[in-house]
Symmetry: C2
Subunit: 264 residues, 2 copies
Amino acid sequence: MGSNIQSINRAASILALILESENSPSFTQIMETTGLARSTASRLLASLEDNHLVARNEENLYSAGPMITRFSHSTGPEEDLIAQSQEAMELLSQETREAINLAILVGDEVQQISQLDSKYLMGNVNWVGLSVPTHCSAVGKAFLAFGNAATTGRLKKRTAKSITNRAALEKDLKKVRARGWALSDSELEVGLTAIGAPIFGADGHVVAALSVSGPTMRLNKDRVEVIGALIARQGSLISQQLGYTAQHGTVKEHSTSDRKVGAA
Amino acid sequence: MGSNIQSINRAASILALILESENSPSFTQIMETTGLARSTASRLLASLEDNHLVARNEENLYSAGPMITRFSHSTGPEEDLIAQSQEAMELLSQETREAINLAILVGDEVQQISQLDSKYLMGNVNWVGLSVPTHCSAVGKAFLAFGNAATTGRLKKRTAKSITNRAALEKDLKKVRARGWALSDSELEVGLTAIGAPIFGADGHVVAALSVSGPTMRLNKDRVEVIGALIARQGSLISQQLGYTAQHGTVKEHSTSDRKVGAA
DNA sequence: AACACGAGTTCCATAATATGGAACATATTC
DNA sequence: GAATATGTTCCATATTATGGAACTCGTGTT
């Protein structure tokens, strides 16, 4: 009881704050709530982030890190989302030879929790643990189109092709709903194309999203269409494994407008 | 990248080891895998435990702590087990005035993740974060009776009334299945009586258990029967909220024997 | 444009803090 | 009952985390 390590106590109290607060707290909030010195809070958070225990937003809002969210989704009632998706991911990997990712929604961003590497020499690095905005990633759009996720705040212009206008985004999402898969063509990073599809849980919510991503050079229009159909099908198969039983095609009234906006 | 806190890096690597390994690692395994000095590992683990980041078995096996399991179950696809159970717990609290707990299975033990305190002066302390063996607790028995949980190793004799014989335990579990609730009468701690009932998820597995617990003095035979019926009903209601749709009464063939035994 | 302000990070001297070896408990085995 | 295996506590040591201040970066204001 008395034999405690100070830095760990402090780090743990920060973690507790982040895990228990509903909305992702900001650096300043954390600093003030815990009563730690600025520099100390900064260092502790950096360390926690490096160790994947917390994840940080582009706006310096903190949420649970990949190590924890990954654990959350590899255990518990839905009995191993990662394991359930393994087979489909391997099939996609064989068919496309590109990088395959499984991602979940954390806060207002999308976090990769599992990956199969590209078979090409020029493939993307390991994304596990990486968080990306919803509006300019394929997985993110899958959540936006089919789930109750909403964009909050300004839509960042990551590249020249990023969609930063809500009306334009909504138009794009309509296409996503129609064909069952989402596309991000150089919207997150120049030269990077990704195709994403949703995975529905038993209760009808989007619990995760699959993606195939690789260099735009290799993923031309025709290839994208083929992969799109493929990934949508695999996502749908996993959804069925998870107990999702909706009749395909009759996607009924997914809310198109923002349901809630972050405590502004 | 270079500005890291050593103790946190080390603690994080321990955490990673625990969260990522399927079977709960032992102290020695952790120490050897991480390459830390014995004393250091011991202190770090003690600190992590004090901060509820890891939980330790009676056999010194480590698993994810309440802070993390609590997070896992307050988020994700089943959309807040704790919130879903709140109403039922409050009702039980009003009716019984005793301590009400919500527990989940972690490894081979049962961990409390939510509690409403007793209204009496002599009530039990805050159990949130506490792990107890399955075979001598009411919640534990609920998991054993209705879920695919299994006892592993020796059954510890916590009190004179603890059931330490597997045949005797199985007989008790049969009663539990028949009436829909479990009883632990001074089996965990002398003078402590608890009544537990299972909560089923949409897929038919037991995802959590409810309990009412208090001094044996206040919980006499009649009262136990009344509370048993009450708590079984509330558990069943929550199950329905979670999407469980089994026909009540026809509990079909819950596996009665141990399904799997820990990697021995 | 220039300025002031807010939010975070990095630097650095300081000492407080975590460290690891060894001694000390506590089970388990032969 | 000795011997081994597994963890915990102690304690001197210097390594390591700490917090104030300086610095950087971004944003809004006149």
